[in-house]
Symmetry: D2
Subunit: 261 residues, 4 copies
């Protein structure tokens, strides 16, 4: 059983900004893909905004077990049809890991149903991610806390639904806190939001962060067959009911008719 | 303190179908508005799909504490800009009660982030809504269960996120079950999904159903000032940090600059 | 509608320690009771460990809408029979607010089912409670954050179940974080855990803390009739079933017999 | 990686009642242990009430990854010290699966913190367990629903906390519903409550039920090292703080002192 991960990156800062390119010469997606494959059990491909259909064709997504998402300045450039496709695949069972500024991506806001807003500051301050449940699969191998010497501050309130589990909470030098590791279940798919990942610091070269990414991919992986018709609302006529049933009363629909959408 | 409710109805079946018109001569919205005002404390207005902006202008929504939503065959006809507006108002603190076939409305699917699909059958069968927590404010005054002699069957799986609270679960004559009363918190707003309400049966004339609607409006009402900037992600520069902070390391943004969206 | 609050305190430090007595000359319970009654709508009585049955007789609890609990060094001295009684009343619908070191009280550990352990440090450090949902009833009237100049540090991991809602998260000068305001529903009763309250600092004289206590009492209040038989598991024999039912197959119990416990 | 399961049974009905003995000649525990080992990956031992320390010594529990619990008429005979031990092991990461009448066991009530009460009827009626999330690991390989020709009715309200996930809901011939498969996380341990299992029907010989039991054991298994000190509340003195800290203000405890419990 090898998990097929796909790392998506908007891949703009690395081409426009010298600092970011210095840290991630081949792009954040390549650094993350490398992190995922440092141990056995995960294969990782990459896709970027610039590719046709942003590299997220139906065929590609159908072969993806877990999608990782990094985006920042071009959320609006992501095609709605592609977002629809990703959302459907999550409902079918594909895992999704949303990183850092991906909090404002179309796909994350779609799946949360909330503004996904927060407070922020780019001052290179110290951050410390406390592990809330050290035996959670996503925290495996991580010590009591992850220390980051430089980080962008993301502060509460973070406008997301109450999570299934709070895995990390971050302390910031400037005085804020943030729920930095949150899990969600949406349809058959598992979602993990992970806050670290500002592009001007070498976050994705940090060994603990890389370990969390691998753990998260394993956690989000659902080995079940994709639930392809998860969005269908089938009519179950009276003669297919599991209990004997005689129709009564008025009806709007004809026998066996499809419903409205 | 009077709660300002607004009952929205797509108002099509009542104009096209004799059975439905027979039950709700002035529309489902009028029956619900009447139910809400049977006791003191709630004033109710109505709005329908056919009105300009579907009767849901910004000004109207700003004066609404709790919005009730009934739609079925014309979900696609609801303008996306109006859905955006409603979603923002929920995040700000407006309550939302989604009824029956509203499970497939744009606004509900947006707020849930899931397909909101289910199984259904229109055979006029018996249904019984069991009260899970009889001391929940929404169940106030309701006995152990609500009996419906005729109902449309809505069956599990119901593709919604795990709720904050399960308030009702329905038993159907044909052998199915359904989580028929579910609460959610999204931003500052409370949401209640309530399954009963098929248009060819006089569901909204049932005293228990009417009581639940009133209870739900009271429960969903948030007396706090609307959180108008709930969707903003403000920059909190280093010199506004609550702890003394000296910027360090490289930065992408200039001092005080707005973030990307 | 006036809410009947009862403030329970083990009342030991105030009698043994000069510093604590200096801050709370008549006991922490009196300071809290005073805070609760600063606005209309709440009446507050007090009870302490030293009274017969710790002041928590059945009669007293039956007249209590919301119980507030402060304990620290004498958790073990609280009689199990009294704890049973309080637990039953919470299931029936009495609200419960557990403060600070009450995390290790018998009643809180009973209701959570987990160790309720945490990390701590008594160094008088600065603490800042960030409001996660500013429109939550418990946060009403509180600004973005509550600043405490001196506090005991309580650090994660905090071994409690995932809450219904995270209302506050605290930042500590020494580098830790803590989920400091958490809500739970247990049976018909609402529970709020609130972290501040170390006895050597004047926490309960702070206006914001006092406001949160009043808010929490209002939030935890359930106006429904107490669910007196909430712990019963009644037999519903076949001839009382809502659907016609013919018994079949072997049975262990005689008709109408009570179940085992 | 082989999961070490331990099946606990009070083992009384099988010795006292001919019907039950006829179905489970060597005890319910043996039938379950056999079910668990029908596929590779799980080894199963058994323990019963009658053994010294009910077969649940510290040493035994320390070697157990997942404990399965069946009890009915002798909940009160289970020693509190053994219950303490099991509860601590769950907090450390041991999985726990509670079956049927185990809803009233000491260990389940302890972990839930609620009355765990329900309604019941022994009339051999038909029951149907609907799968809520067919891609949940616990539902793997199960069709849309599990049909039971004879079952004891367990009806709502079921007085447990809102679960992490609702995996099954049961429909009963007599008109009731029940949340029959519920997951919880408590400390590092995962808990699954599964309703089927009345002793006078051959429930544990049903292939679907046996599959769910195996699935549940795999789901509840936490491969992480046991969190042995999960219940400790260590003092973290100022000079061990991760941020430089100067103590200030009055203190109750001496430097490095242990806290109260």
């Amino acid at each position: 059983m090898t998990i097929r991960a796909l790392v998506w990156n908007e891949f703009i800062h690395e081409q426009e900004n010298d600092i970011v390119r210095g840290i991630y010469p081949t792009g954040i997606h390549q650094a993350i893909a490398q992190a995922l494959t440092e141990e056995d059990g995960i294969v990782a491909e990459t896709a970027t905004l610039q590719e046709p259909e942003h590299g997220l064709t139906q065929e590609r997504l159908d072969k993806t077990d877990v999608l990782i998402w990094w985006g920042h300045k071009a959320h609006g450039a992501v095609d709605d049809a592609v977002v629809d496709r990703v959302q459907q695949r999550v409902a079918e069972g594909m895992g999704l890991i949303v990183l850092h500024s991906g909090h404002f991506s179309k796909i994350f806001r779609r799946l949360m149903g909330t503004p996904c807003s927060l407070r922020w500051r780019e001052a290179g301050e110290r951050a410390r991610l406390w592990v809330i449940n050290r035996n959670h699969p996503i925290a495996r191998g991580v010590d009591t806390a992850i220390e980051l010497q430089h980080s962008e501050m993301y502060g509460e309130p973070f406008l997301v639904p109450e999570p299934m589990e709070t895995v990390f909470i971050t302390w910031y030098e400037g005085g804020e806190v943030f729920r930095s590791g949150l899990t969600y279940q949406r349809g058959a798919g598992r979602i993990f939001y992970f806050e670290p990942g500002h592009e001007t610091y070498p976050i994705f070269h940090n060994a603990d962060i890389r370990r969390v990414l691998r753990n998260a991919v394993r956690w989000a992986y659902n080995p079940a067959e994709p639930w392809k018709d998860v969005s269908e609302a089938p009519n179950r006529p009276y003669d297919q009911a599991r209990e004997k049933l005689t129709p009564k009363g008025p009806a709007l629909h004809k026998y066996g008719e499809a419903g409205y959408r």
